[in-house]
């Protein structure tokens, strides 16, 4: 982190002193691999919907030449050539687009296909943002590689500031026992290590499953009833799929049911590690605030 800032400052100086020679750019990815480019990337392939958003956030949207299925934000991303799904890419199409930087997804892309790209000498920058700070840091690193530092660092800082403002706002809020429902069948939630867990904590929530060992634990409805959360928030489904939440009305003893604290939260604002999480977190905090108001 500090190293990167130093690097960025150094780069800034280099740009100030002799404008002319394109300097090589380097950044360390989430696999601890240092990726260096002779010149900032002009043709970027973003191999996950989240990576696409982050590249846009870094101010390098115009440089994106390839995306994968479900890259629906920002809307301009829909016009970029798709190279298939993130789990099974059309390698021919990807290579045909001749990217000079590939933004991979550590746990989403098949490591075999990534290995093939690396073998061919393609610079692959693998990302896996697992915290609010990591989102900002990832935007900064991508902007260094794309040569769009000023835009990237501004956006990263905006996100950082927004999150710390929210944090200050809800720092002393009364704890609300929260169950966040990632998926319905099977029933899945997140633990405290997860980015959404961090979100719950920031809003003054108390994740009833926060101490479970797995990042995305699979749980039973009985465990939810036993934990008796005061608020249930669910993403994952679309607005039309309300039964994810209405199923809990079958348990009238559940605190969340009696107080009518069953909230929908748009998954794309919460479940993708991108700057849109700021809006998602704000929404999340507001829902918990509603739950607090309903206590009296």
């Amino acid at each position: 982190m500090i190293k990167l800032k130093v690097l960025a400052v150094m780069l800034g100086w280099m740009l100030l002193v002799p404008p002319g020679l394109a300097a090589p750019v380097c950044a360390t990815d989430d696999l601890e691999v240092e990726v260096c480019l002779d010149h900032p990337a002009k043709r970027i392939a973003a191999l996950s919907p989240g990576a696409t958003e982050l590249v846009w956030a870094a101010g390098a949207g115009d440089q994106v030449v390839a995306v994968v299925a479900f890259s629906d934000y920002p809307p301009a991303a829909k016009n970029v050539t798709s190279v298939g799904s993130h789990t099974r890419m059309d390698m021919e199409r990807l290579l045909q687009l001749q990217p000079d930087l590939v933004i991979g997804w550590v746990t989403g892309n098949p490591s075999e296909q990534m290995a093939i790209l690396k073998e061919m000498g393609m610079p692959v920058f693998s990302i896996e943002p697992r915290s609010f700070e990591a989102v900002s840091h990832t935007i900064e690193r991508i902007s260094v590689l794309a040569g769009t530092e000023s835009a990237g660092y501004t956006e990263a800082e905006r996100f950082r500031q927004g999150i710390s403002t929210l944090k200050a706002q809800y720092d002393s809020a009364d704890p609300v026992r929260v169950f966040y429902q990632v998926w319905d069948e099977p029933l899945m939630t997140v633990n405290g290590e997860h980015l959404i867990g961090e979100m719950i904590e920031l809003c003054g929530g108390d994740n009833v499953f926060g101490s479970l060992a797995r990042l995305v634990p699979r749980i039973s409805a009985e465990a939810v009833v036993a934990a008796n959360p005061e608020a249930i928030l669910a993403g994952g489904m679309g607005e039309e799929n309300r039964h994810w939440l209405t199923r809990w009305t079958a348990f009238p003893t559940l605190a969340a049911t009696t107080q009518n604290n069953l909230f929908f939260i748009p998954p794309s604002l919460v479940q993708r590690p991108t700057p849109r999480m700021l809006e998602g977190t704000r929404l999340f905090c507001e829902k918990l605030e509603v739950a607090r108001d309903r206590r009296s």
């Binding site: 299925a69 798709s82 190279v83 298939g84 799904s85 789990t87 099974r88 890419m89 059309d90 390698m91 021919e92 199409r93 290579l95 045909q96 001749q98 746990t107 989403g108 098949p110 490591s111 075999e112 296909q113 290995a115 093939i116 061919m120 990632v182 899945m188 797995r214 990042l215 995305v216 699979r218």
Partner: protein, 323 residues
């Protein structure tokens, strides 16, 4: 005696060659046959060279090797177990390989380590089934089959358990491995070499295999040492399957259907069927993979879907006609 063997084999060899030409010539990026040719003889632009030499050619050869290995392994298993339903995976070999591979994925390993672990799992499964079937009592194909099927069910349970407890985000990779995919296969030479080697070993044994297929008593009566022959078939078939699974995950169907299709057309002479399986299995998988990666490009289909969609109607037609 040579002529009836030579004719179908040369037809199949030509079909194999054609399928490979199609596979190397077709992709989601259009490259004209003339350009493909110029790349193959050493010219061509940088991108075309990469696409043809580093993506299509290794993939085509891997698909051919995998298909051939599975079909020969299936034919050998059917002879060994004297059961038409036997396929390369019937004795739990793919289960062992899958557990090995998933274990490596869970441990966060990638690439070659996953393959190595898969191969180790397959060999472990082989040794286990062999040891258990051998047991204290007498050794028989039905005992081997029963042991294998039960062990396979055990592997299935372990796989389900691993899928259930693995992090949700690892699941896509694991499921794709279980479905089988030749797009990861990069080094076809070991598979092709083994395929050729095993064909060279078993073709001279063809006559003994023909007798064995009718029953061990007859074979023994005709002076064939049944036990060593059965063990040899078992080891060879396991080695073939383990190699195929390691290359491309468990691709179903090829090992079951190709030997039966060939028997319906060519008759049940192992001297002909085994090399024919190598060629026809390879051809089927090369064609299936070509379709899998082009039909709805850029989306890529699992190749097992295509082998089944191509194989089922063909097989049913042949079966119907043979009545």
């Amino acid at each position: 005696m040579m002529r009836p063997i030579a004719l179908p084999l040369s037809v199949l060899a030509i079909a194999s060659l054609l399928s490979m030409i199609i596979s190397v010539g077709v992709g989601s990026v259009a490259i004209s046959p003339a350009e493909v040719w110029s790349v193959l003889i050493g010219d061509g632009s940088g991108l075309q060279r990469t696409l043809v030499l580093e993506l299509r050619l290794p993939r085509t050869l891997s698909a051919f090797a995998t298909g051939g290995l599975l079909a020969v392994a299936g034919a050998l298993m059917q002879v060994l177990l004297r059961n038409p339903l036997a396929d390369p995976y019937v004795l739990g070999l793919s289960g062992g390989a899958a557990v090995g591979a998933l274990f490596a994925m869970l441990a966060g390993l990638g690439g070659a380590l996953v393959s190595g672990s898969a191969f180790a799992g397959a060999m472990l499964a082989t040794v286990m089934v062999f040891g258990l079937a051998h047991g204290t009592g007498s050794w028989s194909p039905s005992r081997l089959l029963l042991t294998g099927v039960v062990v396979a069910a055990g592997w299935g349970a372990v796989i389900t358990l691993m899928l259930a407890i693995s992090p949700a985000r690892e699941l896509p990779g694991m499921l794709y491995w279980l479905m089988g995919d030749v797009s990861y296969a990069r080094a076809p030479w070991a598979g092709l070499g083994l395929l050729a080697l095993v064909c060279l070993i078993v073709i001279p044994l063809g006559r003994s295999l023909n007798v064995l297929a009718r029953g061990p008593m007859q074979a023994a009566a005709l002076g064939i040492s049944v036990r060593p022959l059965e063990w040899l078939i078992y080891v060879l078939a396991s080695l073939l399957t383990a190699t195929a699974v390691t290359m491309a995950g468990s691709i179903g169907f090829v090992g079951l259907i190709v030997p039966h299709m060939l028997r319906l057309v060519l008759g049940n002479d192992q001297r002909l069927i085994l090399p024919a399986c190598a060629l026809a299995g390879g051809t089927l998988l090369v064609l299936a993979d070509t379709l899998a990666r082009t039909v709805i490009a850029p989306e890529q289909l699992p190749v097992g879907v295509i082998t089944a969609l191509l194989g089922v109607p063909t097989f049913l037609y042949l079966l119907h006609r043979s009545r």
